[in-house]
């Protein structure tokens, strides 16, 4: 398994739990998975990165693209539980001020 995405539809929120490695070979798969929820009008999205051991800029690019999309639909894409390394990369790209980031999934889901 390189990357696995577990998807759960909650009352107000669409939750995606990502496990493994997100790079240029599979980042679009992550983006398309989120797109399908947004297509169905679910614009409040939580991306739990707790299981992500590695993410390259390809993954960030998809996250930013989907964020723009859900914001236009009046929703938000919020991040939960990034590892120290992924958090550092988000900060380097200035994305820590663009995404709402929560230490736990419960807090991210509860923020909607």
């Amino acid at each position: 398994m390189v990357m696995e995405i577990n998807s759960s539809q909650m009352k107000r929120v669409q939750l995606f739990e990502v496990v493994g490695r997100v790079d240029s070979t599979n980042a679009t798969e992550l983006g398309q998975t989120m797109d399908r929820a947004v297509d169905d009008g679910r614009n409040n999205v939580v991306l739990d990165l707790g299981g992500v051991e590695y993410m390259s800029s390809a993954g960030l690019r998809e996250m930013v693209r989907v964020l723009k999309r859900v914001k236009r639909g009046g929703g938000d894409l919020r991040i939960a539980n990034p590892s120290e390394r992924v958090q550092e990369v988000l900060e380097l790209a200035g994305l820590d001020t663009i995404f709402e980031i929560y230490p736990t999934q419960v807090e991210a889901v509860g923020s909607f």
Binding site: S24, Y54, S56, S57, R61, V64, K71, L92, A93
Partner: protein
């Protein structure tokens, strides 16, 4: 220059992961810490992805990219060589991380991260090849010959109101007792006859360590001083009692108690 590790991959995104694994292994072998290893992995991933997405976009299969790793004096060096069209990523402007969401362009972040995650980057056009060289500094401790070589081997000491506090640590055996002796002697030679030896971090003391303490204690006493011991772990106390040293030395539960006893004697 250390051993050179070399990997050749086909110019396809699916192969980048192998190159990442290769670089991670080499970076770990070069003693980089977990964070620096991650930085190397990501820098290489971004560099290879750039080469493949830009340089090879219109080429058929069969193109290859070479990745090598080695260490020079104080840097871990990753070299990426491809035979795509001339492309110097360093000439391209990096995106601005302070940009608002709607102003953000999707491209350019690869080279941005390469710059951010390494300590230096160089580009060379060598014949018909592009060469990108990434440098990551090695931890300071292993630069040139190891830590504190040639320095005096002494345990830490601290002066408080003319008294000296000595902090030996670890095992005081035939290997380390000379270091304790050297530490204590140099204090006596500087005229410091009142010594507090805080033994809290001492895990074991052999007869060689005991001998040093007694010898120094005698000399301190001859000069009107003393050696106060504190913070002995239970196992050390046991050893002291076994050889009757508990009758010889003033022993205190901790350094503060030893200091308080000293001020009462003044």
């Amino acid at each position: 220059m250390g051993e050179v590790r070399r990997l050749v991959i086909a110019a396809r995104l699916e192969e980048v992961r192998d190159a990442c694994d290769f670089v991670v292994e080499a970076a770990e072998a070069a003693q980089l810490d977990e964070r620096a290893v991650y930085h190397c992995q990501m820098a290489v991933d971004e560099a290879l992805t750039n080469v493949i997405e830009h340089g090879y976009a219109y080429q058929g299969d069969g193109s290859q990219i070479e990745v090598t790793c080695h260490t020079d004096l104080n840097r871990f060096v990753i070299t990426i060589t491809d035979n795509g069209p001339a492309f110097n990523p360093l000439e391209h402007e990096s995106p601005n991380p302070a940009q608002e969401l709607e102003e953000r362009e999707p491209g350019g972040w690869g080279i941005y991260f390469i710059r951010k995650l390494t300590d230096d980057v160089a580009y060379q056009r060598v014949g018909d090849k592009n060469r990108l060289i990434l440098y990551k500094n090695l931890p300071t401790a292993i630069q040139i010959g190891g830590p504190d070589e040639g320095g005096e081997d002494l345990f830490p000491t601290r002066m408080v109101n003319g008294d000296v506090i000595i902090y030996p640590a670890g095992r005081l055996d035939s290997n380390t007792s000379p270091m304790l002796e050297q530490t204590l002697k140099s204090q006596l030679e500087q005229g410091h006859y009142w010594m507090f030896v805080d033994m809290a971090a001492v895990e074991y003391i052999a007869s060689s360590g005991l001998k040093v303490l007694v010898a120094i204690w005698r000399r301190a006493q001859e000069r009107g001083g003393n050696v106060f011991l504190s913070g002995l772990q239970p196992r050390i106390v046991e050893i002291f009692e076994m050889v009757g040293f508990d009758m010889l030395f003033e022993i205190f539960p901790d350094l503060d108690a030893a200091r308080a006893a000293r001020s009462q004697q003044d």
